[in-house]
Structure formats: C-alpha cells, structure tokens
C-alpha cells in the first residue's frame, strides 16, 4: 500500500495555496483548530450586496490535507450565496479532495469547512485561539 492520498494536486496546493492571506474588514471571520493535532485555519469572507461571497482568504498551519482542503474550499465558494455556504455539503468537499481518507484525516479535511460554516452562522470566537506561526 502506498501513500496514494498524496496525489499531485494536493502537494501542489500545499506548496502553492490558493486564496492565502487576509481580508481587511471582512464580513465574517472565524478561526478554529483541530485540538487533537494542532492544525489551525482562519477564514475571512467579504460578501457583496447580494450576500454572495465576493472575496475570501484563509490562513493556517497544518498538514497537506487540511491546507489543500482550504484552498479547494475557498476556491469553490467564490460567488456562492451565504445560504449556499451554510448548506455546503461535507461530501462535496471530500469529493474535491478526491482521495480516500481515514477517520482521523477526514477531520483534517473538513476543518476548513467547519471554520467557514461557524463564521457564516455568526458563531462567536470560542476561545483564545491564535495561529501558531
């Protein structure tokens, strides 16, 4: 059995992430970590006047899966409405990643979506979180 979860695209995205950075005055922003491994992701979103994602950026620290997933997710939601973001299915993100994942790694893969939805639902910051960089 080989490490086939690391297909080309994942490694490319890990090295050259999409939408990496910050937004000034975002409409919402949220950060969370996976407490069992220390992966952390922050997502900033700016909406247009129709409540569609006008701009999205993320920062974070973690494994190739969680970081590639953030690139893929942020790319995918551009132009989507807030309601579509709230309803974004986990399966869809796992499909975009497109490699078989174990239970522990599914959590890595879905961290970005968890963060995005928490922000979209307006959940307050849960603790004293902070990117370790």
């Amino acid at each position: 059995m080989d490490a086939n979860i690391y297909r080309e695209q994942i490694i490319d995205l890990y090295e050259n992430p999409l939408n990496y950075g910050e937004i000034e005055n975002p409409d919402f922003t949220y950060e969370e970590d996976n407490p069992l491994c220390g992966d952390v992701i922050r997502i900033d979103v700016r909406l247009d006047d129709q409540n569609r994602v006008a701009e999205v950026a993320w920062r974070g620290d973690g494994c190739a899966i969680s970081q590639a997933s953030a690139s893929l997710l942020t790319e995918e939601i551009k132009g989507k409405t807030l309601d579509e973001v709230k309803a974004f299915p986990s399966e869809k993100l796992l499909e975009l990643i497109g490699v078989p994942l174990s239970m522990a790694r599914v959590k890595c893969a879905l961290l970005s979506l968890k963060v995005l939805k928490a922000g979209a639902y307006g959940i307050p910051d849960p603790g004293t979180m902070r990117t370790h960089e």
Binding site: Y6, V40, C63, I65, R105, H132
Partner: protein, 409 residues
Amino acid sequence: MYDVERIRDDFPILKTEVYPGVPLVYLDSAASSQKPLTVIRAMDDYYEHYHANVHRGVHRLSELATTEYEAAREKIARFVNAPEIEQIIYVGNATEGFNLVAYAWGRANIGSGDEILLTELEHHANIVPWQILAEEKGATLRYLPILDDGTLAIERLGEFLTERTKLFSFTAASNVAGTITPVRELVDAAHSVGALAMVDAAQLAPHMPVDVQAMDCDFLAFSSHKMCGPTGIGILYGKRHLLETMPPFMSGGDMIRRVTFDGFVPNDLPWKFEAGTPRIAEAVGLGAAIDYLSSLGMDAVHEHERAVTDYAFEALSDIPGIRIIGPLGSQRGGLISFTLAGLHPHDIAEILDKKGIAIRAGHHCAMPLHQRLGLSATARASFYVHTTFEEIDQLTAALHHARSVFKLK
C-alpha cells in the same frame, strides 16, 4: 544477553500486518506500549478462574482476587523501591495521580499568593490540574525555562524556587524532547526552600530503574499502559505522612472504615484513596507487566534503548531539513521528536503508516512546550524493549521516501 528477537516473540501484536502484506513497525511506545502475552494471559486467567470483588468477601474467589490484587501492589512497591506497600495507590492513569494530589493535597495546602513551580517541558497532565488549583486558590504557576537543546535551565532554579513555592512538580523524562532530568537535584532544590516535589515518571518508569527513596520525592505518578501493562490503571506513590494527613479524594465504598447517616471515618492507607470496586484485573495485569520487565532487567532495557536511540539519532540526523528536538546522548530517553522542512508531521505519519510504521504526530499533549519551541506539531518515533536496528533503518528509509513524495530536494 539481551536477545531482542526472543523478546519480540513475547508480543503477539508484533506479528500483525497493518495492511495486507505490510507488517507492523511499532514506534509509538511513548504514547502507549504493546503488551507481552504473559500480561494478556494473566488477565484472562483472572477472568476465567478467580474473578470476584475484593476485600469484602469471605468466599474463595474473593480471597484469591484480593490476594492477587494486593500482591501486585507489593510488586510495584518493590519495583520503585517504596519503603512501604501502603504508599502505592492505584489510580486510573498517571493523570489521575496528578489530579489526586491537586485535589486532596492541593486544596488543603495551597493558598492565595502561593506558588507552584512546573517546567516548560511538562505534559498537560502535569499542567492543567495545577492551573485549575491555582485559579481556585489565587496561587501562581511558574515554569522553569528550558534551554534551546531541551534541557532545563537548572542554573536559574534560584530565581524560580522561592519561599512562596509550595510545590515543584516536574517530569523525570520528557515525552517530546526526550530530556532526562536530574531528579534528585531538583527534589533537593525544592526541599531547600520548603517546597514539596512531585515527579512525573510516566516516561521514566517504563524505561529505567526507579528508586523513590533515592529520589527522595514526595509524590510520583506513572501509568501502566506505557510499561507493558493494561489500560485503565496507574500508580501514585506518596510519602506516608503526606498520604496520611491528606483528606480523601474520591469517596464511596472500600475507602471507609465506617459510615453513618451523619458522617464517615476513612479507611487506612492505601485504601483510603481507592473508592469503589477497584481495577482488579488491571492490577493483576500490571503485576504481570512488572514481572515481565523485571525478568528483562530495567538496566538491560535502558541499555538496549540507549543503543537504539543513539543509532536512530545518527541515522535521522543525516536527513535533509530535519530538526531534532531535545538533547543528545545520555540525557535523552528512548524517543526522537523532529520536524522535516516542507513536510507537516501529520503527512509524515500518514506516509509512514502506509508502510506499516506507526509514529505519532501532533503536540503530544505538550502544547505549551511546542509553543516555546515555536512549533505547532512534531513527529515522534519512540522505542521500547522490542525495537530493532532494522526498524530504525526502515524508519530512515521511509522518511527519505516521504520527502520524495513531497518532491523535496
């Protein structure tokens, strides 16, 4: 002679294939060790032939169960050279040992303005219970710093140990940096300012001889599951006068001498701290683990791990982009934590797993230490009685392979 191949035969799990055709290379003993067959069989024997509740029974099975439960305590007392058997308290894991001391000793003895000294090396088990206690009592936590090589800044002890210090609780062996600390020196320093000293032996007891009298520590805790024993049990050792004057922690059956509707009288040591039906099979299993380790000899175990660790240190040092955490040589226990530039520890662990190699990635329950090191995670390979040089070669090769998967030059 230490015959590692014969020892490997004692561990059934080492014959497991993790994936079809991929045998297990278990380099995660610091998280939890594997169990020799004798330990598994001792618990089977208990359940199949003499399981019963202990202490309160007249009948034969209860008598046998009580005898074995207490015989295990005696083995453990001998293993750590405790002066008296009653100083060995069964708890759920090392973590519960710290909680017991924080609740029962700490709440009676720590007050506003007091200080508790820890170190930057500590595992969460030796941090969070003190944070809760300090918060409740208005006490202050301080952390003895480490140097960049992961050893303690011993020369700064004078700044951190003051007459306000009531307790110095520190690890004897770090589960991340591997650092072995000079326990007796630290205990003496604590005592010199009138503080008590508690030792985290979770990563020491499995790997080296432990002598609580030579250490002169006031409390010491460790876990069965890291030293060939079952899950669900750990040990707290304490000095007798402390254990005797402490109030109970958990209460209920067994830990009492007498109960009325109006109050209770606690039982004698050690049962005063063991409430309810105890961890009977687990004590029997731990007793068998102690027998097993004693049959190998803790000096021989330590020597074997030293050889394996030195070999691994050298082999890993050659990998491009590696950063090894912690000190060299004699100050290091049997584990190596590291990072590889351009490869997240999780991805390393994942790639190694597919080759059957089990290592751990993450903060290893030592987030503050990782912050201090400027890292969010490390990869850790840890070694035990059954680790071979060939397994280290497989580890090294797999790390090179991981770099190539990530196209690192």
